[in-house]
């Protein structure tokens, strides 16, 4: 008998159906990955097992853990099971811990709440388990508070809390989505090791197919509350049946064709750029310290070139982006666009600004919710001396919207009427409308589902041909940068550690940091290779 058996699980919240006839099993020592795009119901499946669903949830079917049906278990008995028989790890390590309690207390609490050990022994066990997850006491005393730890370290604390009582089943809901690739690799290794050592079952929820293929013994693919396909990882990768599964894998490894760039002629030049931030004073009378976010960065972006900028969070990508946009001053060095400096004190130089536009990551925060699309995408007209009026304005709007695959009538709608992918199209339309020489894409596809992301990447490739785009594509996602750029810069701790032709850098990295980044990034398996092997 399996450790966890979910049979015909149905869930509705507020009378809208969330899950339909979900059935799956997890055995001891087995890693089962549930994957799918947003709205597939994968997280709700996890919460249903924990019985931590939102209020007004109605469930039917059965969820059996070791033969006990959790759906009919009382809340009191569930409390006894949670934390001892089932542990759970969440997506956001930054907010998953109580900010006002020490990590030692929070781990020991799991033990104490189940009265599994006397307090002294519980503290001992907390120490053991924190060491096991990679936080030894000599470096990370139990008296640390969560805000004194990094995201990856906090996720280790959350894992320690979840496994403190050696649960039979561990549920991990997107445990590495909020983390950098190198940290992600470490956390995934930790989880794998724990499953093997403790013979736990792991139910892992993730949207990342590369992680899925790498980790899971079995895969469950979900779409809109239903399971579309399930099978042992190797077998499923080799013999995908459902078109949705095939589409997901195809979109995850989606490649685009870029037109050949014209011969080099410099557009943007960054020379020895330095950007310092003032740190809060450490004592009342000492001079405040500095944090160097961008350290002696130099590069050139040529007309018609697509340049990538990769690096982990905190490496200075965003600071550099703001400096290029002329929003913040440099402490040393220069940034020129078309020969003119981008930063001109407090009154922006419109002459330079109108040659540059930007597309941001968050499709929900990028627009003023109170304005209509026509007003939103024409905001850059403010940069023009004689902005188009009347029909010329209307034509420009219609043209920009059509170019990004939307309808001219969408101009009269408000932003909340659009999906995430459509909003990103509108953001591109806003960037295109004054035909800038340079567009900055700041993590512009990072918040999108894979299928939508593939469409936006296609749109980019089309626009490259139609508009001769020059862009700087800033992202932490190596696979995306690899397909949409000609050249790439690798940034670490404020410095550019490596730059070169994208394909060369990825296939033959020189700098140790680039090597470690590429090694840590989970890769989609070569599907054609797998199917050949399995035929043999």
């Amino acid at each position: 008998m399996s450790l966890l058996t979910i049979t015909d699980l149905n869930l509705s919240i507020h009378k809208s159906d969330i899950l339909r006839d979900v059935s799956l099993t997890v055995d001891q020592g087995e890693i089962v990955a549930v994957t799918g795009e947003s709205g597939s119901g994968k997280s709700m499946t996890a919460l249903a097992v924990m019985q931590l669903l939102p209020d007004l949830s109605v469930t039917s079917g059965s969820i059996k853990l070791d033969g006990t049906d959790l759906l009919t278990t009382s809340e009191t008995d569930m409390c006894a099971l949670r934390g001892s028989a089932i542990g759970m790890v969440f997506q956001e390590p930054m907010t998953a811990l109580n900010p006002v309690k020490t990590i030692g207390d929070q781990v020991a609490e799991t033990i104490l709440i189940h009265k599994a050990m006397p307090p002294v022994r519980a503290k001992e066990r907390a120490r053991e388990i924190l060491t096991r997850v990679g936080l030894p006491e000599d470096k990370f005393p139990l008296t640390r508070f969560p805000h004194e730890l990094s995201g990856g370290q906090r996720q280790r604390v959350v894992i320690a809390m979840a496994i403190a009582l050696r649960p039979k089943l561990l549920i991990a809901d997107e445990p590495t989505t909020a983390l950098d690739v190198t940290t992600q690799a470490q956390i995934l290794d930790l989880l794998k090791g724990l499953v093997k050592e403790e013979n736990m079952g792991l139910l892992m929820i993730t949207h990342d197919l590369a992680v899925v293929s790498d980790m899971a013994d079995r895969i469950v693919v979900m779409r809109q509350g239903e399971i579309v396909e399930t099978g042992a990882t190797k077998h499923l990768l080799a013999h995908m049946q459902h078109p949705y599964t095939k589409m997901l894998f195809a979109a995850s490894g989606h490649l685009v064709d870029l037109p050949t760039p014209p011969p080099p002629s410099p557009l943007l030049t960054v020379q020895n750029a330095i950007r310092d931030y003032q740190l809060p004073r450490t004592s009342l009378f000492a001079k405040p310290g500095h944090y160097r976010a961008v350290n002696d960065v130099s590069f050139t972006l040529h007309r018609g070139e697509r340049l990538g900028l990769v690096g982990e969070s905190g490496c200075g990508k965003s600071t550099l982006t703001r400096a290029i946009l002329g929003l913040e001053p440099l402490q040393d060095g220069q940034i020129h666009l078309d020969g003119a400096p981008v930063f001109s004190g407090h009154s922006p130089n419109l002459e330079v600004r109108r040659k540059m536009q930007v597309v941001f990551q968050d499709p929900f925060g990028s627009f003023n919710p109170r304005h209509r699309v026509d007003r939103l995408i024409t905001e850059p007209f403010f940069l023009l001396e004689t902005p188009p009026k009347g029909t010329a304005r209307k034509d420009a709007i219609a043209k920009a919207l059509t170019a990004v695959g939307l309808h001219p009538d969408d101009a009269l709608k408000y932003i909340h009427e659009f999906s995430g992918g459509q909003r990103q199209r509108i953001a591109i339309a806003r960037a295109l409308i004054i035909r800038p020489e340079l567009i900055l894409f700041d993590e512009a596809v990072s918040a999108l589902d894979v299928s939508v992301r593939a469409q936006i990447l296609d749109l980019l490739a089309e626009l490259c041909t139609a508009y001769d785009l020059t862009y700087l594509f800033i992202s932490h996602d190596l696979s995306v940068v690899r397909t949409v750029t000609d050249r790439v810069l690798v940034m670490q701790a404020g410095k550019i550690v490596e730059q070169g032709v994208t394909e060369d850098v990825f296939s033959n990295p020189q700098h140790p940091y680039t090597k470690s980044l590429i090694a840590a990034a989970p890769r989609l398996p070569d599907l054609t290779q797998i199917s050949k092997e399995s035929v043999l």
Binding site: R353, Q357, R370
Partner: protein, 271 residues
């Protein structure tokens, strides 16, 4: 539907209507004394009874509503007129000496409760309804400055503000074009709350003689007059008190209702 909003609107409109009507009609002139008929309990001639001078309490309540509303309204306008620009400026220049200066100034004004300001003004310039307006108005400034700054700061973090900056717009223009419309809902709600607090504060100040002076009728003064007679004519204290409570309750319900109605997050959660 939104019950708070309906009850709040009805109560508030009722008070405003009474105040406006008092300009053209009251059952009796509110200053008209009628000693033989003093201290009557509510009856058909005098719906709310009469006071110790035989004045008609219903008429005094109507005219008193005028004083309360006028004082609170002007005080809120002072708060919004000065506090909102200060809050917007502080947020636009976050971390600068100007921001620091505005916020320290705010803290300082918070250290002077409205009644203390009223005491200071009255001690030097003498009593009057203007004192109440100025005292409550000054008190309102940091309230609005803080609310505006807090909301504006989180908006300044948003990408659409960054887009506007990329479009070359100055921070003053961004404050008015993007920030102000997005904090408007919050200001309306806070404005309603401060309005109701203003009514309460005005009553308190007039009660201790720091607000409207006779013969201007005000609910707080009516209560002060009633105090010595409360044992044998409790309606003198009950009626103005209930008038204050209903007005403040109405405005608070209106504020809560507006918040629920205007907050799009809550609306999505409901539908």
């Amino acid at each position: 539907m939104n019950r708070n909003l309906i009850i709040g609107t009805v109560l508030s409109l009722l008070v405003i209507f009474a105040a406006l009507l008092s300009f053209i009609w009251t059952p009796y002139a509110h200053t008209e004394m009628d000693i033989p008929n003093k201290l009557q309990s509510p009856n058909w001639q005098h719906w709310f009874g009469t006071d110790h001078f035989g004045r008609d309490i219903f008429s005094m309540i109507m005219v008193g509503a005028r004083t309360s509303i006028a004082v609170a309204l002007v005080a809120v306008s002072i708060g919004i007129g000065l506090g909102v620009p200060l809050g917007l400026t502080a947020a636009a220049r976050k971390g600068s000496w100007l921001d620091e200066f505005i916020m320290r100034g705010n803290d300082l004004v918070f250290a002077f409760p409205a009644i203390v300001i009223a005491i200071l003004i009255t001690a030097v310039f003498g009593a009057g309804a203007i004192n109440a307006i100025v005292a409550i108005g000054i008190f309102n400034i940091p309230v609005f400055a803080r609310v505006t700054r807090g909301a504006a700061l989180s908006l300044w973090e948003r990408d659409f503000i960054l887009s506007a900056r990329v479009a070359g717009k100055s921070s003053a223009r961004i404050s008015f074009e993007h920030i102000l419309p997005n904090v408007m809902n919050l200001l309306i709600v806070q404005g309603t709350i401060q309005f109701s607090l203003g009514i309460l504060a005005e009553a308190g100040l007039s009660y201790v003689g720091l607000g409207a002076q006779p013969p201007t009728p005000s609910w707080g003064r009516m209560l002060a007059d009633a105090q010595t007679m409360v044992s044998f004519a409790p309606h003198l204290a009950l009626i103005p008190g209930v008038a204050i409570i209903l007005t403040v309750l109405g405005l608070n319900l209106l504020g809560d209702g507006l918040r629920d109605y205007l907050d799009p997050r809550l609306r999505i959660a409901r539908s």
